[in-house]
């Protein structure tokens, strides 16, 4: 794939935005938040320095929180497959790109997901400084964008300017008309070395490593999961913000004439997630549900199916959990177990 030198990243952003609607993380209304929103004239320049993840990952673009699957008007079923206009997500970080790749597999057969996904071009950015609470290197999800995870990748170089890598034909095609110089091959080695330096700056994550071992060796006593389960308020925050969580349910709602079937995000931390009609529940306690959640994130069994762990180390669950059982809290607790 082609490599170029780029002076200013926002020259690329503007060039792409002139061709397709472009979304990028920014504070809504000039607030201190960070959300995925369309690029406008008010959008500030792409931030460099210590990265911050947007509050929500990009999954809502492909797997929306609520989506009509079909309509029934009393006689006919009407298809509601999306016909999305092509769009660009600009500035996706490596952890979130790995999560998109993970969901691409999960939703391989899902026409709703695939329609949106295929209409979307991903522009990734390498993280040059560890973000607050992230641990992507421990779960092989960053800090630099992995090969094949984005259409275009931007890497800020230590001396100056950016290295721009086109990783798909479509990505490369969109660069047409942008004044760029080809980059020397040595730039690639420099990038590889730079990643080692960034990884070295991450705080130690032994609690994550030990926790993963304990989960896979089934060494965590049930009592400990029960104690953690007591802290689970079943808010659905972790599953809403986790970039790889993909569980959904569907229900029928009355529409203008007839009804429509809507699918919506579900959460495995809800009591009724697995409850059967008889009232029997294979995960009857909050402890069992918390255990299952973390098993899905860190089990080698799932890693076999998906080619990676279900956790990409973004740290969002820690920040949003009101019961203080996000990834760091849980892994600290179970890695400290006897």
């Amino acid at each position: 794939m082609k490599r170029f030198l780029l002076d200013r990243i926002d020259r690329l952003r503007d060039h792409l935005a002139s061709q397709r609607p472009l979304f990028t993380p920014q504070g809504n209304d000039g607030s201190a938040e960070l959300n995925w929103l369309p690029l406008t004239r008010e959008t500030p320049p792409t931030a460099t320095g210590r990265p911050r993840l947007p509050t929500c990952p990009a999954k809502q673009f492909f797997f929306p929180e609520r989506e009509i699957l079909f309509r029934f008007d009393g006689n006919d079923f009407k298809e509601t497959l999306p016909k999305p206009t092509p769009q660009i997500l600009f500035g996706v970080r490596s952890c979130d790109l790995c999560a998109i790749a993970y969901q691409d597999r999960f939703f391989q057969q899902d026409p709703y997901y695939q329609a949106r996904r295929r209409a979307t071009l991903l522009v990734g950015i390498d993280c040059q400084i560890p973000c607050d609470g992230g641990f992507c290197p421990t779960v092989d999800a960053g800090p630099f964008v992995r090969d094949g995870m984005a259409d275009l990748v931007c890497h800020q170089q230590q001396d100056e300017g950016w290295l721009l890598m086109a990783q798909s034909a479509e990505g490369e095609a969109l660069l047409r008309g942008l004044d760029l110089k080809a980059a020397e091959t040595s730039r690639i080695d420099q990038r590889t070395r730079a990643q080692q330096q960034v990884i070295a700056r991450f705080p130690p994550a032994t609690h994550i490593e030990t926790g993963i071992q304990r989960i896979n060796r089934a060494e965590v006593p049930a009592g400990q999961w029960q104690a953690l389960g007591l802290q689970c308020l079943a808010c659905s925050g972790c599953t809403s913000l986790c970039p790889t969580c993909s569980c959904f349910t569907s229900y029928d709602r009355p529409a203008a004439d007839g009804f429509e079937r809507e699918r919506c995000w579900d959460s495995c931390l809800y009591d009724a997630f697995q409850r059967e009609a008889s009232g029997h529940n294979p995960s009857a306690t909050a402890g069992q549900r918390v255990e299952r959640f973390w098993f899905h994130k860190f089990s080698d069994e799932y890693a076999k199916t998906f080619g990676r762990y279900g956790c990409t180390g973004c740290g969002r669950c820690e920040k949003t959990c009101p019961g203080v059982i996000g990834v760091h809290s849980v892994m600290k607790s179970i890695s400290a177990a006897p």
């Binding site: 809504n28 938040e33 929306p64 009509i68 802290q231 308020l233 659905s236 349910t249 920040k319």
Partner: protein, 690 residues
């Protein structure tokens, strides 16, 4: 949410509409529909977290079943009507009633979910446009005893400290509530503080989540709060653990309190409450030993016939231990509905104007009369329960209810229904067809919180702005605008505000608590905590730091009195009502989420394993619960979270309305009904049919 594209067009920062914690949420708007929620990481209270209710906000405001035009009932069914016709019907009935019987034959019920601007408009409408003090809202059924009790002892009924104080305390006392269920984000901060090393003392008949994490849990018998606190005070005085210096300099009436609590030695208190003496002593010790002890309480204190006295005894305890007036301490009532603090601040109460200025005071009446350019009624107003009683007596003939659902949430459902049926005219301003709205003669469609500007005041007195994310559906409009137009039709033109901000500015002029606030200032600061005025331009996070609002803190001796109805042979079990994390109030908003609805679809009865065994009840067994007032059927959930001899039921479900069972016996001061305790009998319906 149409299928074409899913392009997020904007995110509007606003405040969660559910509970008094007041978390920050961003409403995600796609193609002019609210499709989801993003938590606000920069919000000072919620810091990027939300509870299940907050996360489900997009469902709660789903336009699917909204009322979009005025509706008039004709021969038992509703038909759409124009605003003009609806206003005419109302104006005629109201004017006729005033001419025949006087303005006190009318009553207004405001809403603790509505904005401050709406609540202010409602009380101004009652007082200035109609000429009656018959104005109330549902604080009556959650926290009126807090206002009544703490105003007597401290001079202010609000939370004394702030949510950020949770992390500053080294002991947290959770009394008669489970914030992890009902105020989850705040409850989560208590969990966080506990994990960071704070000690936790829980006083509750139920083995709540926090009780299971606590260093000490006093599992007292239902309705024995005063005996327990008097017992703690007796131990404190007997051991000399009281804060002598604080008592001498800042409190009054100590001798009377000492004399009363002397009647409560540990043996007697252990017998009344069922809490062993050692635990009483340990609790008294850690509360007085702690450098900073923060006490928080909820409806397990207020929803009793002794509600006001319960609050007074909580206040006695904090004053005697000197655990108030400093950071990380204080008395912190947890408000139920998102704006119950604001509804009280606005004077949506029969006895006070905005800012708790007494209606009975001629000076405050004169001040409001001048400002509002209307002579104002002096006669005492009715509470909401008073209004329903007078409706049955024929003395109250028209009512306007704003977004409340008393048919589901008030005690003794049958009483409320009969009362509303007896009215000449019932007007309901609502979003959706609630049980109460279904009984109305005229329904006026209101804008939801996501469709208008305004402010909510959270439980720590933080006044926060909300913002419209989408336009209101159909002809719906903000409550204040409806009330203003109706006032105009009734010949009062003092409510023709151009926008919500104009109302807020009027509030700031008339209420000393809000004086220093304005929309731009609120926006800049993530809200401001009252009092905010010249002395405290940036608001006040800590009340009573140098002196109490009333001067000296008053110790008031109170005595134990059991619940009005005790279990007996016919009704052998104690019955209490609870709330669930997943639902809110009458459930009209939260139950629209398919996920929350799925959690507990038809209501439940919580019963202790011992009682379940005695009745051969298994999980999910169908049961009937009967009291002297009515019966309901639901399914059993067996849990040791309720003690033996007590069953509990959440009150959110209209299919299983727990309030058919509860007692209307009232607190003599606030007329607060005793929702937390009555006697019932449980029948196993599956055993019966076999």
């Amino acid at each position: 949410m149409d299928a074409a594209t899913h392009n997020i067009s904007r995110i509007i920062n606003t405040i969660c509409p559910f509970c008094g914690v007041g978390c920050g949420i961003g409403l995600r708007v796609e193609q002019e529909k609210i499709t989801g929620v993003e938590p606000l990481v920069s919000h000072p209270v919620s810091q990027g977290k939300l509870c299940a209710k907050g996360w489900s906000t997009a469902y709660a405001v789903d336009p699917i079943d909204r009322i979009t035009t005025p509706l008039i009932k004709e021969n038992g069914t509703f038909r759409p009507a124009s605003w003009d016709e609806a206003y005419r019907v109302i104006t005629e009935a109201f004017s006729t009633t005033i001419a025949q019987q006087g303005a006190d034959a009318l009553g207004v019920i405001a809403c603790a979910r509505a904005t401050n601007e709406d609540c202010y408009a409602a009380q101004k409408f009652a007082r200035a446009a109609l000429g009656t003090n018959n104005i109330d809202h549902c604080a009556r059924i959650c926290h009126s005893p807090s206002v009544a009790g703490l105003r007597q002892t401290l001079g202010s009924g609000a939370m004394t400290n702030s949510i950020n104080d949770i992390e500053k305390a080294d002991l947290i006392v959770v009394f008669g509530c489970d914030p992890t269920e009902n105020h989850s984000v705040l409850g989560g901060r208590i969990i966080g503080a506990k994990m960071a090393g704070a000690r936790l003392l829980v006083i509750d008949p139920r083995k709540t989540r926090l009780a299971q994490m606590a260093d000490l849990h006093l599992q007292l018998q239902l309705g024995t709060n005063i005996a327990l606190i008097n017992g703690l005070l007796q131990i404190i005085f007997a051991n000399g653990w009281e804060a002598t210096e604080f008592l001498n300099s800042r409190c009054e009436n100590e001798a009377a309190l000492r004399a009363r609590v002397a009647e409560y030695p540990p043996e007697r208190v252990a017998a009344i409450t069922g809490v062993p003496e050692e635990k009483l002593i340990a609790a008294a010790r850690i509360y007085t030993e702690a450098e900073r002890a923060l006490l928080t309480y909820g409806m397990g204190i207020t929803q009793y016939t002794t509600g006001t006295n319960n609050v007074i005894s909580i206040s006695n305890l904090a004053l005697v231990a000197g655990q108030i007036g400093r950071e990380g301490t204080g008395i912190n009532p947890l408000r139920g509905q998102n704006n119950v603090q604001g509804a009280c601040d606005m004077g949506a109460l029969p006895n006070v104007f905005p800012g708790y200025q007494e209606v009975a005071e001629p000076a405050s009446r004169a001040r409001f009369a001048t400002h509002w350019q209307r002579p104002l009624p002096e006669r005492k107003g009715l509470t909401s329960l008073g209004m329903t009683k007078e409706a049955l007596n024929g003395n109250l003939r028209c009512m306007l209810i704003m977004g409340e659902d008393p048919v589901v949430t008030d005690p003794d459902q049958h009483h409320v229904q009969r009362a509303l049926e007896a009215l000449d005219l019932l007007v309901v301003i609502e979003l959706v067809m609630t049980e109460t709205a279904a009984m109305a003669d005229v329904i006026l469609p209101a804008a939801a919180f996501s469709e208008k500007e305004g402010t909510f005041t959270n439980c720590e007195r933080r006044v926060q702005r909300i913002a419209p994310a989408i336009p209101a559906p159909g002809e719906a409009k903000p409550d204040w605008q409806i009330l203003g137009e109706l006032a105009g039709r009734l010949g009062y033109h003092g409510m023709a505000w151009p926008n919500a901000e104009a109302i807020f500015n009027e509030i700031a002029t008339l209420s000393p608590l809000y004086q220093g606030m304005s929309y731009p200032r609120l926006a800049k600061n993530h809200g401001l905590q009252w009092p905010c005025n010249e002395q405290a331009p940036n608001g006040t996070s800590l009340l009573h730091s140098k002196a109490f609002s009333r001067g000296k803190g008053r110790l008031i001796p109170v005595s134990h009195a059991g619940p009005a109805e005790m279990p007996d042979e016919a009704y052998p079990l104690f019955f209490t009502t609870t709330r669930l994390h997943f639902h809110y109030g009458c459930g009209s908003m939260t139950r629209k989420s398919p996920l929350l609805e799925r959690e507990t679809p038809n209501g439940v009865l919580f019963i202790n394993p011992a009682d379940a065994q005695a009745l051969a009840i298994k999980p999910q067994t169908k049961v009937r619960i009967s009291s002297r007032r009515g019966e309901v059927e639901t399914r059993a959930v067996i849990t040791d979270e309720v003690p033996p001899g007590t069953v509990a039921m959440p009150y959110h479900f209209k299919e299983a309305p727990s309030n058919r069972l509860t007692n209307t016996a009232q607190d003599p001061v606030t007329k607060m009904p005793e929702l937390k305790a009555c006697a019932v009998r449980v029948t196993n319906l599956e055993a019966e049919c076999k």
